[in-house]
Amino acid sequence: MHGTKRKQWSKEALNRKRLNDVKKIKDYRKLVDKVLTLKESQVYDLKSLKSTTELLEINPEFNTAWNFRRDIIDNIRNELDSEFWDNELKFTMKTLKRFPKVYWIWNHRVWVLSHHVDSSIKIWQKELFIVNQMLELDSRNYHGWHYRRIVIQNMERLGNKSLNHQEFQYTTEKINQNISNFSAWHQRVQLISMMFDHDEIANKLDLLKDELDYITNAMFTGADDQAVWDYICWFIEYDNVFKTLELKEYTKMLNDLQTNIVMINDDDKDFSGKENPWCLKVLILIENLQCKRGIKKSDDVLKSKEWLAKLIEVDPLRANRYRYLLDSQYHE
């Protein structure tokens, strides 16, 4: 089981546990049978709802019970006031705190919000506050980030206003807290792309230059970290960067990055006696882009082959990839 320490049971301990389980199993199966019988007889009332609460508190993975719960709510909608809906949100929150990785609970929460009697932007604003808190506790939670995008989409829909700039600030905050937070870097790519696509940037050149400063700093701080390098790879290949900077500035950007990366790599060599694999990988990509954009000419001396040969040594887990690239003369 994900992340649960292995326990070696002695015979006595196992017998004790099983003895303990006898009553629990009996009660649990009785409760399951009760809920499923109510479901099959289509008894949609508050009493049935309460039975599903009892069951889901013990086992929030019981998807069928969540389904029944939604059918009950749908059927007695007219009897429910806004306090009910708020309590339903509280119930899912309580459950999520205990089981933050159970998909079914997240789904139910989205369903509740979409069916809430108060369909104004307010409930989603409250929700954003809650998502912030959750991502404070676990800043890489995959569901959490997915959920955040859903909340934002609904706020944008109801408020009829793009929140891309605000969210961009949020990713800066998260990255400043932890430079290895790739979920935040990923979201940053989405946001910049959307802002370009929807023409939401007042001064594109300024934004990209600020971004370049930001990643240059990040590179020096997180040189061992894939997250930063992945983002840099995206940035230098991103079409709008080339279009906005134009060839002269773009050339300078690649050259500056190259100089800085060589410096970081040299520092690593001095310090640990080993080259930094990420530096080498990104140097190869930069050289590839220099060729693609005509910055390097075909008769210039290319170093990618040399770097690939070094990578076989310093990053042996992926040696076959580097061999493949050497063989196929492919330079990234």
Binding site: H2, T4, R6, V22, N63, T64, H186, N320, R321, E332
Partner: protein, 324 residues
């Protein structure tokens, strides 16, 4: 470790056999919602170990049929539970592994195809059931199931493939929906969907190179693979990552020896089974994905597994290839 690491085949077989004899444990009942999936994981693991006869075929088929949800026309994970695409695929996989799809009546067969296709949404994606959760997991589940049933159609495939392509990310990974972060399990669901529908050529060669790069970066110094950057290794990614690499024909881009060691270190040497990380609690899910990872790498004389279907290759070789 003093002794060389080896695969404890007999222990794993005994562990999988023991799973259905745990009715005295509360956990057995708390996991009903995964039972049909669990039976599929167990059966496939036994098959890879060439020990499928350790399950009573007739009893398993009866159990599968007892999970049929006639109201919706799919399989729930357990008797009386609601049908969902996830458990529906497991039911179909088990019947297909036993070459027993004919145990579904014609009416059930038609209903099942209708249930699966009815969950496709306008943008080509699939919801898991009528409540609207969308995830590339469900696109895969739906298309894999339809493929096993021999019922893929261009009307279903085309929009689904277009949706999958929208889930491709800048870093070479795939997310659970457009805009979502890359995750190795989603690489499998997306690439396998493309492979099953004969649509891998919809990816450019540059994308394939990038996909291979992202996947091989999942291997960590301890040999195990993670699902996203800066996360811990976990045996289940031995399957999600290796099957993906195999589909794009770059299996050897990770280090086999180190991964094998990592998987074998996750075995419970006393009671059998494989866990997510060394010294954690074992379960049938990680046991299967440890074994299938080893099988893909060609270790331990395990039977070959099909990277697209996660089913024994000698079974899937008989499936109709799309386009029909």
């Amino acid at each position: 470790m003093s002794q060389p690491l080896q695969l404890l085949k007999e222990k794993h077989i005994a562990y999988i056999e023991s799973l259905d004899k745990k009715q005295n444990d509360l956990e057995y009942w708390l996991s009903e919602h995964l039972r049909l999936n669990g039976v599929y994981w167990g059966l496939t693991a036994l098959y890879i170990l060439d020990a499928q006869d350790k399950f009573d075929k007739e009893q398993v088929i009866k159990f599968v049929l007892s999970c049929w949800d006639d109201k919706t026309g799919g399989f729930g994970p357990f008797h009386r539970h609601d049908a969902h695409l996830l458990s529906t695929l497991s039911g179909i996989q088990i019947l297909a592994t036993y070459e027993s799809l004919h145990r579904l009546s014609d009416e059930q067969f038609e209903k099942c195809v209708a249930f699966i296709t009815s969950n496709q949404l306008e943008d080509g994606s699939f919801q898991g059931d009528r409540f609207g959760e969308v995830d590339t997991r469900f696109v895969y589940t739906a298309l894999s199931a339809l493929s096993i049933l021999g019922k893929l159609t261009p009307e279903v495939v085309e929009p689904a493939v277009n949706f999958i392509l929208k889930c491709y990310n800048f870093d070479g990974g795939f997310g659970l929906c457009p805009g979502a972060e890359s995750h190795a399990a989603q690489s499998f669901t997306c690439l396998a969907t493309l492979a099953i529908t004969n649509s891998l050529d919809r990816l450019t060669s540059k994308q394939i190179q990038k996909i291979g790069w992202w996947l091989c970066e999942r291997q960590l110094p301890e040999g195990g693979l993670n699902g996203r950057p800066s996360k811990l290794p976990d045996v289940c990614y031995s399957w999600w990552v290796l099957s993906s690499l195999s589909i794009i024909d770059r299996l050897n881009w990770i280090n086999f020896k180190k991964l094998r060691e990592f998987i074998l270190k996750c075995q419970d040497e006393t009671q059998g089974g494989i866990s997510d990380r060394p010294d954690n609690e074992v379960d049938v899910f990680h046991t299967l994905f440890g074994l299938t990872g080893l099988s893909l790498m060609g270790f331990e004389e395990l039977k070959p597994i099909d990277p697209k279907y996660c089913m024994p290759s000698d079974i899937t070789s008989k499936f109709k290839k799309y386009p029909y």
